[in-house]
């Protein structure tokens, strides 16, 4: 039937035979898309007397909002922290590859680096929409260099920094600028950090606590000043102690300002966090859990040995070791693997598993009015999944950008 629309001449697509994630539940309902956004079909029917131009038969699949990865260091041989003259082709390469994992938006993450690297890399990547070319960039996640020496993990010690001049000046010196930054991870016990937290939040940049030996009070103070995320919970922070829970205590803290939520990143690959610990965190604070891959350069590469920069890495299954050792050197699980593993390990519902990878990161970054949901007016970034939560197809702004081969 030809369209008869008074509001727009753009084509309307109707996804049929699907279950859509809406209002925290899977509903047997159709999803309508026009001009890259989710459309209200009832308004279309009564106001515009319009109907679909094209129907996509989903054959019973689940449609969830596209996944959002707020911590990913690279993949497929690309390392975002590597200073090169053509950072954008590396970011684009990864952006295209992660579509098959259901990821439609991400934050390219840089580990602690010298100022020269930040000054070279940051200006080359802008916040941008996704599409056939790949997932959208929501901005950088800068993990460091204002972190704790004791909890540096794999970050290079010589490039760690403290706050000298106080305030944003140190950040500007280190990073060169604050444009296109979505999130900064820092250690709130560092002197002068609290005012930095405040200033970053005022600029709309999400502040995350991580790689830190902060106690609970220091963490709570940072939250009071606007910090809203915990970088890979449990890793690179003091372990939970029943008389000083440390950063982990934020999950059940009663000092969180009203109306605010503290989110926490979880690498649910079954390796970086023991499933029992994952369950403790999830049960303590289910609505704050954000799945992240924290994927490294080796993610997506086939099993075996690979030389990446100065390192030789050996991939065995989901483990990436420094070659010849049993030392883990980062995560290589993909986002869809994390969703499946999280569901399996926590026993949560399908809806909760999907929201941990979509709604929660969107709310964390303050973009949930257009990402992370299938609400009317949201960007139509979708992932089609089977009942086992394997990705069948990925859509950005209503256009199919990846489909599983036969």
């Amino acid at each position: 039937m030809p369209s008869n629309k008074s509001v727009s001449d753009a084509a309307i697509t109707q996804f049929i035979n699907c279950r859509i994630l809406r209002d925290h539940r899977l509903h047997r309902d159709d999803l309508w898309v026009r001009e890259g956004k989710v459309l209200d079909p009832e308004k279309l029917f009564f106001d515009e007397k319009g109907y679909a131009d094209k129907r996509v038969d989903c054959e019973g699949s689940i449609i969830a909002p596209g996944f959002i990865d707020v911590q990913i260091n690279g993949g497929y041989g690309i390392d975002f922290s590597q200073a090169s003259d053509d950072v954008s082709s590396g970011v684009s390469f990864v952006a295209k590859k992660i579509l098959q994992h259901g990821v439609t938006s991400f934050c390219p993450t840089l580990v602690t680096s010298p100022p020269a690297v930040y000054h070279k890399v940051l200006p080359q990547i802008k916040v941008s929409d996704g599409g056939e070319h790949g997932a959208g960039v929501l901005g950088f996640h800068l993990e460091g260099p204002f972190i704790s020496v004791e909890k540096k993990g794999a970050h290079p010690e010589q490039f760690l920094r403290t706050f000298q001049s106080g305030g944003i000046k140190d950040l500007m010196e280190a990073y060169g600028g604050l444009d296109n930054i979505a999130m900064v991870t820092l250690a709130p016990e560092l002197g002068g950090s609290q005012s930095v937290v405040k200033e970053l939040c005022q600029r709309g940049i999400t502040v995350s606590l991580g790689h830190s030996v902060a106690n609970l009070s220091q963490a709570e103070e940072a939250v009071h000043h606007g910090a809203s995320f915990i970088t890979h919970l449990f890793n690179a922070m003091l372990p939970f102690h029943h008389r000083d829970p440390g950063i982990v205590g934020l999950l059940t803290s009663d000092q969180i300002p009203a109306g605010r939520t503290v989110y926490y990143g979880m690498i649910a690959d079954g390796i970086h966090t023991n499933p029992a610990a994952l369950r403790i965190a999830h049960r303590a604070h289910p609505s704050g859990l954000v799945l992240v891959t924290d994927a490294i350069t080796a993610m997506g590469l086939p099993p075996g040995r690979h030389t990446l920069g100065q390192q030789v890495i050996e991939i065995q299954g989901l483990h990436a070791y420094v070659a010849g050792t049993k030392t883990l050197c980062g995560s290589i699980a993909t986002m869809d693997m994390c969703v499946r593993h999280f569901k399996h390990a926590s026993g949560c519902s399908v809806e909760e598993a999907l929201e941990a990878a979509s709604l929660h990161p969107a709310k964390l970054l303050g973009v949930s009015h257009r990402k992370g949901t299938l609400d009317y007016g949201s960007d139509a970034d979708l992932v089609l999944l089977d009942d086992a939560l394997n990705v069948e197809a990925t859509f950005i702004s209503g256009q199919e950008v990846w489909r599983k081969g036969p």
């Binding site: 039937m1 008869n4 159709d30 079909p41 009832e42 308004k43 279309l44 029917f45 009564f46 515009e48 007397k49 319009g50 109907y51």
Partner: protein
């Protein structure tokens, strides 16, 4: 009249849906000749709509050449409110079938000028060639659409204030808060429905039994507006056993008897 009595709600819904389906198929609607259908809302016709959707899905019927006119809509309730009759019709019927949105007519309870809206609705019905089959329900107070007790039996589409009985009956859809129920509605008149070529009234449940008794075993009375259809040449009352509980045994036996189901009237 015909009084068709089925054992339970599901069978009554199925009978009614099949009747509508058969009438549409026999009519052979086309782009030059649409089948016009009057439609109700509420819990009674829900099962009938479900069955019609099934018939559409299995390919038995298409609504491509069907024009629909709903009976009523609340005044002042936002169209997107989950309890508006627009929402009811979208969620329970229109979104599941292939009707052209331009052919689905419902009164606009938020129109600038309600009287003009009502007159325009009557005009649209006339332009569509009148209603072939008007499907309706009955309120516990015997009303058809929102033609509350005391409504003129020759009334046309207009604004009506809802009776206390109706507001109480509808409170369950508004969290049992009487203050949240709309107090006015736009409704087709008794006369508007009487103009249809054929009328089918669905009545199920023991709570409607007394109204059915008043409508068909007592006289034509503006206090029980459904009784007006005693004077319509082609009316069918479709009900379940429970709805017949206040009728005379003689009435029920007559209409359940073999020959009466073949009578045209």
């Amino acid at each position: 009249m015909r009084l068709v009595i089925l054992d339970d709600y599901d069978l009554a819904s199925e009978w009614a849906a099949k009747y509508i389906r058969n009438r549409i198929i026999q009519f052979k609607p086309s782009a030059d000749r649409y089948f016009t259908l009057g439609l109700p809302t509420g819990s009674t016709p829900y099962g009938c709509y479900q069955k019609l959707i099934e018939f559409y899905r299995s390919g038995d019927i298409s609504f491509k050449y069907v024009k629909t006119f709903n009976m009523d809509e609340y005044v002042g309730l936002p169209r997107a409110h989950p309890e508006s009759y627009h929402s009811y019709m979208w969620n329970n019927f229109f979104k599941h079938i292939d009707i052209d949105p331009a052919n689905a007519h419902i009164l606009d309870g938020n129109a600038e000028d309600l009287e003009t809206e009502c007159q325009a609705y009557e005009q649209k019905i006339a332009e569509a060639g009148g209603i072939e089959l008007f499907v309706g329900g009955i309120g516990p107070d015997g009303h058809i659409a929102f033609n509350e007790p005391g409504s003129s039996l020759v009334s046309r589409t207009r604004v009506k204030t809802l009776a206390k009985d109706t507001i109480v009956a509808n409170a369950r859809f508004f969290g049992n808060d009487l203050n949240k129920v709309p107090t006015m509605a736009l409704t087709v008149g008794v006369g508007t429905v009487m103009d249809a070529k054929e009328v089918m009234i669905l009545i199920t449940g023991a709570h409607k039994a007394f109204a059915l008794y008043k409508a068909i075993e007592e006289g034509v009375n503006h206090m029980w507006t459904v009784s007006a259809f005693q004077q319509h040449p082609r009316t069918i009352f479709v009900c379940d056993e429970d709805a017949t509980l206040e009728l005379r045994v003689k009435t029920v036996k007559y209409f359940k008897g073999p020959s009466s189901t073949d009578d045209a009237e």
